[in-house]
Each structure stands twice: as structure tokens, then as C-alpha cells.
């Protein structure tokens, strides 16, 4: 593919999913700066591999690249330093409303990554099982069972938090 045409097509089909890419990266890294780094790297990667993109679901394709970029990044970072959560996430909780908000966010962030990502894709990105399966390279059955476990664990976590806050 000729370069200018490639760039134009890429900007047209893949760039519009920037928010989805950032949202997933932000939930995966739990950190704004890392999310930006990963999304930028993911976009460059996606551009490099764009010739291999068969058309179709640009969002799922991009999110798969974001996720893979994250996994690579995490392997690289794992032993270097523990990345701190953004501080806003851990404000004090007093009101039930605030407790609910904080708890939900905290609990979602505390979920193991396998559960966190499917919940984010399903509930925030409103993606289908099929799309999530494509992004995670897992069978639909695995997506369903992960999603189900994720929901239960999130529920347990939130319930416990609220109980604690209202004591």
C-alpha cells in the first residue's frame, strides 16, 4: 500500500477508536501516564501492521493491539517498579454515594487483569462476546465464564467495602 493512502485510511478507520483504546489501557494500567504511553505505542504498532488488517471491526483489532502492547509492557515493567495507582482513586470515602463510587472503582481495579479487561470491554465498551473473544484471543466460552466470575467477584468486593464503610 502506498504510504499517504495508508496513513489516510488508517486515520479514517483506526484513529476514531482512540477513546476506546485509551479507556482499556487506562483500566489495564490503572495509571494515566502509562495508558498514554501504551496507547501511543499501540497506535504505532497498529500502523506498522495495518497492511495485515483485513478490514471489518477496527475497534476490536485496535484493542487487541492495545492489549498485546500492554502485556509486553507489563512483562518489561514487572520487575522494575510497582506502578502506583493514581491517587484520585484512593480518596477517603464517607458518604455512601461516594463510598459506592470509590468502592466500585477500587474493586474493579483490584480485580485480576483477566477479569478486569472483560468487564471493561463488556460494560464500558459494550462489546459483544464475539468481539471480546477476538481481542483476547480466547474462545467465547472462556469469555463467558470469565465475565461471570468477574461479576461475582466485583459484587463480593463492593459489598464488603460498603459494609466496612458504613460501620
Amino acid at each position: 500500500m502506498k504510504s499517504p493512502a495508508k496513513l489516510a485510511l488508517f486515520e479514517q478507520t483506526i484513529l476514531p477508536h482512540l477513546n476506546a483504546a485509551y479507556n482499556l489501557a487506562r483500566w489495564l494500567t490503572r495509571n494515566g501516564q502509562d495508558a498514554e504511553d501504551i496507547v501511543q505505542e499501540a497506535y504505532l504498532r497498529a500502523f506498522r501492521y495495518f497492511d495485515g488488517f483485513q478490514g471489518g471491526d477496527g475497534k476490536a483489532w485496535l484493542l487487541a493491539v492495545v492489549r498485546n502492547t500492554y502485556l509486553t509492557w507489563r512483562r518489561r515493567e514487572r520487575d522494575v517498579a510497582k506502578v502506583p495507582f493514581d491517587e484520585e482513586t484512593h480518596g477517603s470515602v464517607q458518604l455512601v454515594e461516594k463510598a459506592m463510587a470509590g468502592s466500585l472503582r477500587d474493586c474493579l481495579e483490584l480485580l485480576p487483569r483477566e477479569y478486569r479487561e472483560v468487564l471493561v470491554m463488556r460494560e464500558l465498551e459494550e462489546m459483544s462476546y464475539n468481539e471480546i473473544a477476538a481481542v483476547t484471543s480466547r474462545p467465547i466460552g472462556t469469555v463467558m465464564s470469565r465475565l461471570s466470575r468477574a461479576r461475582r467477584r466485583l459484587q463480593d468486593c463492593v459489598t464488603a467495602r460498603i459494609k466496612e464503610a458504613s460501620r
Binding site: S3, P4, K6, L7, F10, E11, L15, L18, N19, A21, Y22, N23, R26, W27, G32, A35, E36, V39, Q40, Y43, L44, F47, R48, M100, A101, L104, R105, L108, L119, R122, E123, L124, S128, Y129, M144, L147, S148, R151, L154, Q155, V158
Partner: protein
């Protein structure tokens, strides 16, 4: 539909992943079964909570431009890379052309220099007193004489019966190396046959300033026969030697 079969489908129903018929069955069951309806309600509430309280992190305002810039740079980089590869390739091509031309030229010129050197040696041998180191018409005298003086042993032949008598030999210098010069006579003309171990490139014949040179390679040796003889007679000598 009973609870047993409905329960595993509640989440798929929630996620709108059931076909219309299955979805209809689950919906009917939820209307009849308070337990399943509660489970469904809890999931629904969780969804509402997630969407209400778990932020959808939108990309920062400037970020789209950052990505765009990075992409353009990468795109330029790719183009640039290809351009550099193209430039490098053409440079390589030009260099290899120049190299080959230079090589041919230097081969040519070195061959020409050798021929020139041979001719100079021939002329020097005639105007000085140094035509013969070993004056002898006997090849069994001439050939051993070279032993220990050269790192090779020239093939000495006599063609007295064909009118090209051997009159001796000497050591000469061509291209900065010691070579054997066998000297033959044809009437009043002298023939210098220079030989040394090499397959030297160069023209088979050369005419310059009234002198002729016949050049050939044979069995790892190179030969230059030089004389003021006509080219026909020099060729005759050469072919005698080659036999």
C-alpha cells in the same frame, strides 16, 4: 423454562447474546420466578453502577494530536527509510561500477605497463653491453645457469635448425621482478624472449616504435617475445616455441 435451565442464561440474556427465541423463554421465566428475577436485577444494578461510577476514561484532549503527530513521523520515517535504502543502493551500484571500471582500467593499464616494460628491457639489452649473462648456444648450458638465480626454471629451447638460433640468456627485470630473458638471433636481429611464472593479461601482439611484441601464456608461465623483426617472423618464432 425452569430455574435450572434459566440460571446459566441470565447473564447472556443480560448481555443480549441470546437469540430471540431463547431470550423470550428467559424473559417469561424471569416474570414467573422471583429468585431468578432477583439475580437478574442484581446484575442489572451492577451494570448501572459500573456505568455510573467506574469512569469511562476518555483520551485527554491533546492526545489525538499527539498520536497523529507520531503516526506522521512514523510514516515519514518509513518513507525516509526507503529513500535512504534507495540512495544507499544507488551509491553501492555507482561504487561497484566505478570499482569494476577502475579494475578493468588498472588491469588494462598494468598489462600495458608490462608490455612497455618488456619493450624497454629489450631496447636496453641492445644499446648496452648487457645482452647476455650466459652466452651459449647450448640450451643445456643456458637452462642450468638460471638455477639458483631465479625462483623458477625457464623452458629453454633452441631453434637453430629453423633459423632462430639460441645465443644465450640473462636475468632481466620486468614489473620489478627478476625474469628470465632468453636471447635468440634471426639474421642480424635479436629476439628477447622474456618469461616468468604468471598468467599475465594483455594483448597478444603489440607494435611500437618499429618493434613488435608477441605475448602468450602457457602452463602457468607468461611469455613476451620482442624484436625488431617483422611481425610475421616473430609470430613464426612464437609458434615454434609454443610447439
Amino acid at each position: 423454562m425452569n430455574c435450572e435451565s434459566a440460571k446459566p442464561l441470565i447473564e447472556s440474556y443480560l448481555d443480549e447474546e441470546l437469540d430471540a427465541i431463547q431470550a423470550g423463554h428467559v424473559q417469561e421465566h424471569l416474570a414467573d420466578c422471583p429468585s431468578c428475577a432477583q439475580t437478574h436485577a442484581q446484575f442489572l444494578e451492577q451494570r448501572t453502577d459500573i456505568r455510573a461510577y467506574a469512569p469511562y476514561y476518555k483520551a485527554p484532549a491533546h492526545f489525538s494530536d499527539v498520536i497523529r503527530g507520531a503516526l506522521r513521523q512514523a510514516d515519514r520515517g518509513t518513507a525516509e527509510t526507503w529513500r535512504w535504502i534507495a540512495i544507499a543502493a544507488s551509491i553501492l551500484l555507482a561504487v561497484s561500477f566505478a570499482w569494476n571500471i577502475a579494475r578493468f582500467q588498472s588491469r588494462d593499464s598494468s598489462a600495458a605497463l608490462t608490455a612497455q616494460d618488456v619493450l624497454s628491457s629489450h631496447i636496453r639489452s641492445l644499446i648496452g653491453t648487457h645482452l647476455l649473462d650466459v652466452p651459449s648456444s647450448d640450451r643445456h648450458t643456458v637452462k642450468p645457469w638460471f638455477n639458483g638465480k631465479l625462483d623458477f626454471s625457464p623452458d629453454v629451447k633452441d631453434f637453430a635448425s629453423q633459423g632462430f638460433p639460441l645465443i644465450g640468456g640473462r636475468i632481466d627485470y620486468v614489473d620489478g621482478r627478476a625474469v628470465a630473458a632468453l636471447v635468440y638471433q634471426r639474421r642480424q636481429h635479436v629476439i628477447n624472449l622474456f618469461t616468468w611464472p604468471e598468467a599475465a593479461p594483455g594483448d597478444a601482439e603489440m607494435a611500437r616504435n618499429g618493434y613488435h611484441t608477441v605475448h602468450w601464456n602457457s602452463a602457468g608461465m607468461t611469455y613476451y617475445a620482442v624484436s625488431d623483426l617483422g611481425i610475421g617472423e616473430l609470430r613464426q618464432f612464437a609458434s615454434l616455441y609454443k610447439q
